[in-house]
Assembly symmetry: C2
């Protein structure tokens, strides 16, 4: 019987779903190659010819999958933002004290800022994007920030967090946890996990002795 393809004898005739998957895979491969090069050399110093060459394809192929260079960047940033959005959603739904939920969120936040897309997201300033795209991305970042501030406020309300200045604390936390996007070396000895918990513990405990 041979009505469905099997693993052993994959048919060269792809179904529609397979072809859509194929296309999505290729798009993804372009983005992964691009984000690595953006992180390594910067957006402007990376030409789409370079990205194409690194994949053994030609530039028009990239244009076939992604409309233009800015679109490539936007997709990378979007992929970097998505885990944050999802972590924020979870944090809002979770039970527990404000501090407990915040801690969980901060660790997720720090960790995803160290993967390829997260790093690109953090490092992509407004000036690299068209005004419209910059605004759209800023809006999404603002939502993450709103969650961060809400968690801090809830912690203060339930007594699990000291009565700090919410806005300043949110900026301090974000800054401390974004910064690894610029210095963390994936090849180095410290895993993202270790760094994330190290940073968060310091931020929660502070420098002054207790």
């Amino acid at each position: 019987m041979q009505t469905l393809e099997t693993k052993d004898a994959p048919s060269p005739f792809r179904t529609r779903a397979e072809k859509m998957q194929d296309r999505a895979d290729k798009r993804e491969a372009v983005l992964r190659a691009a984000v690595r090069m953006f992180n390594a050399h910067g957006f402007h110093a990376t030409s789409l010819d370079d990205v194409a060459a690194s994949l053994g394809i030609s530039k028009p192929t990239i244009y076939h999958y992604l409309g233009n260079k800015e679109q490539v960047l936007i997709e990378c940033v979007t992929r970097g933002l998505e885990p944050l959005r999802s972590a924020a959603e979870q944090a809002r739904a979770q039970a527990g004290s404000g501090l407990e939920r915040l801690r969980r969120f901060l660790i997720d936040y720090a960790r995803t800022n160290m993967d390829d897309f997260g790093r690109c997201m953090v490092r992509t300033g407004d000036e690299l994007l068209s005004p419209a795209s910059a605004a759209s991305i800023r809006a999404r970042k603002r939502e993450i920030d709103a969650t961060l501030r809400a968690l801090i406020a809830e912690g203060i309300a339930d007594g699990s967090i000291a009565p700090v200045d919410v806005k300043m604390s949110a900026f301090a936390l974000a800054g401390a946890l974004n910064w690894p996007a610029r210095w963390h070396d994936p090849a180095g000895p410290d895993s993202p996990e270790t760094i994330a918990t190290g940073l968060v513990d310091m931020l929660i405990g502070g420098l002054a002795p207790r």
Copy 2:
């Protein structure tokens, strides 16, 4: 008597010292114009023609004062780094507990990161510079970081700072205090002074209640 120029009758014949000053002033003006445009639109999106136009001069005049575009950026970054170097020097010389000296240093650090040159310094990643210049600047930044770590270690030794992980804490502090270079709006309601103390107080106290 008219042997020396007076404020009322400034001679049009400049002395050698005056001309050197004049030259330095013009160099400075170029750098100030450039750093503002770099901060607003990014290094690559700012052409030297734009900078020249904003001063009502022509591009070759910029080349007359500064060798090339990278040199302009390097000078901007250097000017952003200098106050940090000087604050670090002071902090090392000062008396007081580790925490007191660290606090003073952190506030200076945060404040200077919000002026034009400081912002440019923070935002200029290695990828914008030639390998040689990037290395030189990285070395200078490493010295600041060494001071930061030394102050933390001293504070731990004298008991004014909790026994935190020195490296992680230094990164967390630097990140939190560098971040305003990306979000602070000089036209906004919060002065650099306010932000600096707000951030530092939160970092010293931590989030957890005492």
